[in-house]
C-alpha cells in the first residue's frame, strides 16, 4: 500500500501495538535542556532508575543562559537550573554541551548543526519547537516532563497515531520573500488550530527550492499552526547538508544511509487525511500585528477592521489584540513604530539568517529610537559569522552582538522588552507577555527586522533591497 513519509517513519518505530491502546513508539534521539528536565531526572533518582540509552540523549543549556558577561548568571534560579542540568548529565552519563562549550546553542539549532538530526528518526525534546527537526524528514515533537522521564528510562513513548496533512506550497516565492513569510502566511491563511491532531508534510515547488536552514524555519513554526509535528521529505539538499557532519554516518555508511533516506519519501498515490494549498506568489513579506501568530498580514496591507470579520468571537479577538498591542484597526503596517529589534531564536538565528540581516544593515545605522540585538543561535553560528565579519557589520551599524541562547524569544534571562514597548522579532511567538510583561511582539523575517531597526518602523524590504549592493 502506498504510504506517506509520516506513516513510513511511524510504522518503522512501533515497538508494540495492541488494539484500543496507543502505540509504543521507539525514540531515536532525545534532546534535553535545563528548564523541562530537572523533575524528570529527579523522578529517575527517586525510583532508582537509570537512563536506558544515554547514547541517544544530548543536552545543552539555552533557555536561561545570559547573552553577555559570561559566565556570570545574576538570576539565582536560572543558575540553579543550569548547575542542576550539569549535575544530572554527569550522574546519568548524558552528553552535555554546557554554557561555555563550543557546541552550545539553542537545542533546535545544534541538533541539525552537529548532524544528530537525521532523516527517518523519531526525535523528542521537552520543548514545543522540536518540530524544527522535521525539516530533515524526521518525526520530531515536543513532550511534557512526565514524558521526558518516560523516554529517559525506557527510550519509548505511548503515542496515539496522529492524522496526516499535506500543506502544498505551489509556485516560486518572489524577491524579498523568505521561509519565515511562507510559514507566517500559512498560519495566517489557515489558522492556529488547523494542524491539531496532525503531522504535516510540507510539499510543493516553493518548499523544494528552500535550503535546509530555510526548511527548519518552516518546520519550526508547525506547532504555531497547532500541529504535533511538521516535516519535509529528504532530497539532495538534505543529503548535502548532512554529509560530513560530526554525528552523521561517515564514508560508505553515509552513502548507504542516504539511499535509505531518499526512499522514505511519500509514495506515489499515498493519501493524507487533509490537503491544503497555498500559492507562493500570493505571499509578501509578513508582519504580525496581533497576539497570536495567525494575526499577521503582508507588509503592503493594513491591519484588518472589525467590519472585515463576521463572527463576534473574531471581532472581539481583534479588539483585544488591538488594545494589548496599542494599535488601531485599519492602520498601515508601515506606520507601526518599533523600539526594539531582536534577531535570534530557533526560528531565525542560523548563519543565513544573520547574513540576510547583515546585507540590509551594512553601512547603515540603527534608528536612534531603536535598541537592536543579534543573538546567534549557537556558538558555532557565532564563530562562523565572526569569521566572515558579520559581527563587525552589525556592531558598526549599532546592533549589540551577543552570546548564543534563547534570549529575548522568551525573556527568561535578562534580555527583556519593557512593558508597552514594541519589538520587531525574528522569533515564533507573539503571545501577550512573551518577551516580558506588557511587551508587544511583531514576528518578521530577519531582513524585515533589520530594515525596521534602521527605519524605526516597518518597511517593505523589497523596496530597500533594490537600493543595496548585496
Amino acid at each position: 500500500m502506498a504510504k506517506t513519509i509520516i506513516e513510513k517513519i511511524w510504522d518503522e518505530h512501533i515497538v508494540y501495538e495492541e488494539k484500543g491502546k496507543p502505540d509504543l513508539l521507539y525514540i531515536d534521539l532525545h534532546l534535553i535542556h535545563e528548564v523541562t528536565s530537572p523533575q524528570a531526572f529527579e523522578g529517575l533518582r527517586l525510583a532508582n532508575r537509570k537512563v536506558r540509552r544515554p547514547d541517544l540523549c544530548f543536552a545543552t543549556m539555552d533557555h536561561n543562559v545570559p547573552t553577555k558577561n559570561l559566565p556570570v548568571i545574576n538570576d539565582p534560579i536560572a543558575k540553579k537550573q543550569i548547575t542542576t542540568l550539569a549535575k544530572n548529565c554527569e550522574e546519568f552519563g548524558v552528553q552535555l554541551a554546557d554554557m561555555q562549550h563550543p557546541d552550545q546553542g539553542i537545542v533546535h539549532i545544534i541538533g541539525p548543526e552537529l548532524g544528530l538530526t537525521q532523516p527517518g528518526k523519531t526525535i523528542v525534546c521537552g520543548d514545543s519547537h522540536t518540530s524544527t527537526h522535521g525539516a530533515f524528514g524526521a518525526i520530531a515533537f515536543g513532550i511534557g516532563t512526565s514524558e521526558v522521564e518516560h523516554v529517559l528510562s525506557t527510550q519509548t513513548l505511548w503515542q496515539g497515531k496522529p492524522k496526516t496533512m499535506e500543506i502544498r506550497v505551489t509556485g516560486k516565492i518572489g524577491f524579498g520573500v523568505t521561509a519565515k513569510d511562507i510559514i507566517l502566511a500559512i498560519i495566517s491563511k489557515f489558522g492556529i488550530g488547523v494542524g491539531t491532531g496532525h503531522i504535516v508534510e510540507y510539499t510543493g515547488e516553493a518548499i523544494r527550492g528552500l535550503t535546509m536552514e530555510e526548511r527548519m524555519t518552516i518546520c519550526n513554526m508547525s506547532i504555531e499552526a497547532g500541529a504535533k509535528a511538521g516535516l519535509i521529505g529528504p532530497d539532495e539538499t538534505t543529503i548535502n547538508y548532512l554529509r560530513g557532519r560530526r554525528y552523521a554516518p561517515q564514508g560508505e555508511e553515509f552513502e548507504a544511509a542516504a539511499e535509505r533516506w531518499l526512499a522514505l519519501n511519500t509514495d506515489e498515490g499515498a493519501t493524507y487525511d487533509q490537503v491544503l494549498e497555498i500559492h507562493a506568489d500570493e505571499i509578501e513579506p509578513f508582519v504580525t500585528w496581533g497576539t497570536n501568530p495567525s494575526m499577521g498580514s503582508g507588509i503592503s496591507s493594513t491591519i484588518p477592521t472589525t467590519a472585515d470579520y463576521v463572527s463576534e468571537t473574531d471581532k472581539s479577538a481583534l479588539r483585544s489584540a488591538m488594545e494589548y498591542m496599542g494599535l488601531e484597526e485599519g492602520m498601515a503596517l508601515t506606520d507601526i513604530e518599533i523600539q526594539h529589534a531582536f534577531i535570534g531564536s530557533c526560528t531565525n538565528a542560523r548563519l543565513s539568517d544573520l547574513e540576510a540581516a547583515a546585507n540590509i544593515v551594512k553601512g547603515k545605522h540603527v534608528h536612534p529610537t531603536v535598541t537592536a540585538i543579534v543573538v546567534p543561535g549557537s556558538r558555532t553560528v557565532k564563530k562562523q559569522a565572526e569569521d566572515i565579519g558579520l559581527d563587525k557589520i552589525f556592531t558598526d551599524a549599532g546592533f549589540d552582538w551577543r552570546e548564543s541562547g534563547c534570549s529575548m524569544c522568551l525573556a527568561m534571562n535578562d534580555d527583556v522588552v519593557p512593558a508597552g514597548e514594541r519589538c520587531a522579532s525574528t522569533s515564533n511567538r507573539n503571545f501577550e507577555g512573551r518577551q516580558g510583561a506588557g511587551s508587544r511582539t511583531h514576528l518578521v523575517s530577519p531582513s524585515m527586522a533589520a530594515a525596521a531597526a534602521l527605519h524605526g518602523h516597518f518597511v517593505d524590504v523589497r523596496k530597500i533591497e533594490a537600493t543595496v549592493q548585496i
Binding site: 515497538v15 508494540y16 509504543l24 523533575q39 527517586l46 525510583a47 516532563t145 512526565s146 527510550q155 505511548w158
Partner: protein, 194 residues
C-alpha cells in the same frame, strides 16, 4: 508510585467550582527543580494572606482536617494551564483522592501519571458530602477495587473508572513501570535496529 486501593479519611470540603491549576499552584512556584516539595505552595494564595500569615477562614487551615487525604470540590476541577506541578502539589500536600462532579481533561490524566485517584460523582452526591463535611468532620471510605465511596453513616456510592487506569493505580504502576513490562519488546527492537 504508591498503589491505591482502600483509603479511609476525613474529607476536606473545598466548596468551590472551576478550581484552576493557577490556583492550585501559582506561577511563582514553578521554577523549582524538584517534583516534590510543591505541597507547601498548594493553594498558596488561599491559605495565606498577602502578609504571609495564615488565612484562618480557609478550610485547609482548619485543624479538624489535618492529615485528610480526600479532597472534595465542585465542578470542573483542575481547569486552565496544563502544568504538571498541580497534581504534584496535591500529592505532596498529602491528598490521594480528589472527588468532584467533573474534571478538566489534562488534569484528570495527569492525576493517573502521578498516583492520584480522581473520582467523579453526581452534583447531588457531592453537595451532600460537602454539606456534611462542613458541619462536622465526616469520614469517607474509598475502595478502588469495588469502585465505591462509602460515607460514615452507611451510604454507598459507585463510581466509574477506565479499567486501564484502574489497574495502573491498584498496582501502583506509573506509566514507566507499565512500559517496563514490555522491556523484552524494547530490547528486541533495539537488537533489530542496532
Amino acid at each position: 508510585m504508591e498503589p491505591i486501593n482502600k483509603i479511609e479519611s476525613v474529607l476536606t470540603p473545598l466548596d468551590k467550582n472551576n478550581v484552576d491549576t493557577d490556583q492550585i499552584i501559582s506561577k511563582e512556584f514553578l521554577k523549582r527543580i524538584e517534583r516534590t516539595g510543591f505541597g507547601k505552595y498548594l493553594f498558596y494564595h488561599w491559605r495565606f494572606n498577602a502578609d504571609g500569615t495564615k488565612n484562618e477562614d480557609f478550610v485547609m487551615n482548619d485543624p479538624r482536617f489535618d492529615g485528610s487525604t480526600i479532597l472534595v470540590a465542585h465542578e470542573n476541577f483542575g481547569c486552565g494551564s496544563s502544568r504538571e506541578h498541580a497534581p504534584w502539589a496535591i500529592l505532596d500536600y498529602g491528598f490521594r483522592v480528589v472527588i468532584a462532579p467533573s474534571f478538566a481533561d489534562i488534569f484528570y490524566n495527569n492525576c493517573f501519571k502521578n498516583g492520584i485517584l480522581p473520582i467523579t460523582l453526581s452534583v447531588a452526591e457531592i453537595d451532600e458530602f460537602l454539606r456534611k463535611g462542613k458541619e462536622a468532620p465526616y469520614t469517607l471510605t474509598v475502595s478502588l477495587e469495588d469502585q465505591t465511596v462509602a460515607g460514615e453513616d452507611g451510604s454507598v456510592y459507585d463510581f466509574d473508572i477506565d479499567p486501564y487506569y484502574k489497574k495502573m493505580l491498584l498496582n501502583g504502576w506509573d506509566e514507566i513501570s507499565l512500559t517496563f513490562q514490555y522491556e523484552d519488546k524494547i530490547s528486541e527492537y533495539e537488537q533489530k535496529h542496532a
